[in-house]
Subunit: 144 residues, 2 copies
Amino acid sequence: MDEVHIRTRRDHASEIAEDYVEAIAEFVAVKGSCRSVDLAECFAVTPATVNNTVARLVRNGLVITAPYQPIGLTSKGRKLALKCKERHEVVNAFLIAIGVDAGTAAADSEGIEHHISKTTLAAMKKILADGWPAISIAIEKQNE
Amino acid sequence: MDEVHIRTRRDHASEIAEDYVEAIAEFVAVKGSCRSVDLAECFAVTPATVNNTVARLVRNGLVITAPYQPIGLTSKGRKLALKCKERHEVVNAFLIAIGVDAGTAAADSEGIEHHISKTTLAAMKKILADGWPAISIAIEKQNE
DNA sequence: TGAAAATTTTAGCCTTGGCTAATTTATTGG
DNA sequence: CCAATAAATTAGCCAAGGCTAAAATTTTCA
Ligand SMILES: [Mn+2]
Ligand SMILES: [Mn+2]
Ligand SMILES: [Mn+2]
Ligand SMILES: [Mn+2]
């Protein structure tokens, strides 16, 4: 039972990093660059908190900064951002597919995304693409 | 966009409390009482960490303790434990229903559970009971 | 251009949730 | 019954992730 909690703690440790690289990539994509204020507004934290966090991401090799300059991603950061964005979108779409309204799906998926294994992500993608498992079985039986 | 992250941070703040009350209720149910060692083993943390955390849960009115005595729940704690256990089980069952293996479902649900809103929980329960939304539509169409 | 506003950084504080090491208290077996 | 073992507590440490307040820098615009 305990490896389960170790997994969950590991997920949490990378959670903020994942949200930051995803947000930075998004700001760069839609408005050309990402500034501290953007992240502060986006996460509803103070600029001081952004500074602390960004410093840690730099230490971890995900982000590049220079004093008073925009915040950019390393190639490692971009790669992580891409993976997280895709996973986030799948989780969000899946929640909507099971009948959750868009606002709730957006809120829930923001937390859920970080705890989705490759296996569960694959299961969600499969259902989004092929429909519910039982349907396939039913169709197979029909085609017998 | 930022209320979403405020929600996620609030979920995290109560996450450990939720896991602890759930575990305490479980130990009481299956072996009559819950001791520090039980929780330390269960969460893969040191006894010192359990002590810290339990002290905070006492401050928050979820847990009762006396020195060198077993750990118990207040009625507030029991109520929370019940709610969390049910939610946890629904999430776990739902993951299995979408084709995830039991081991992965157990691991993923441990983190996911804390980020599931009432709305999403209801959607999962409905599907576990009634099947996938599209099926109902198909059946309705068949019955026309 | 130069003063005001916006942005970024720094310093210092807090809580949570981890840890180790040492001590204290309970439990158990010979 | 008491010594060894087990369990619980205490003390002191750390990093993450929040905050406020103040200082420094950059940008804007009258
Ligand atoms: Mn995300
Ligand atoms: Mn997120
Ligand atoms: Mn989480
Ligand atoms: Mn959990």
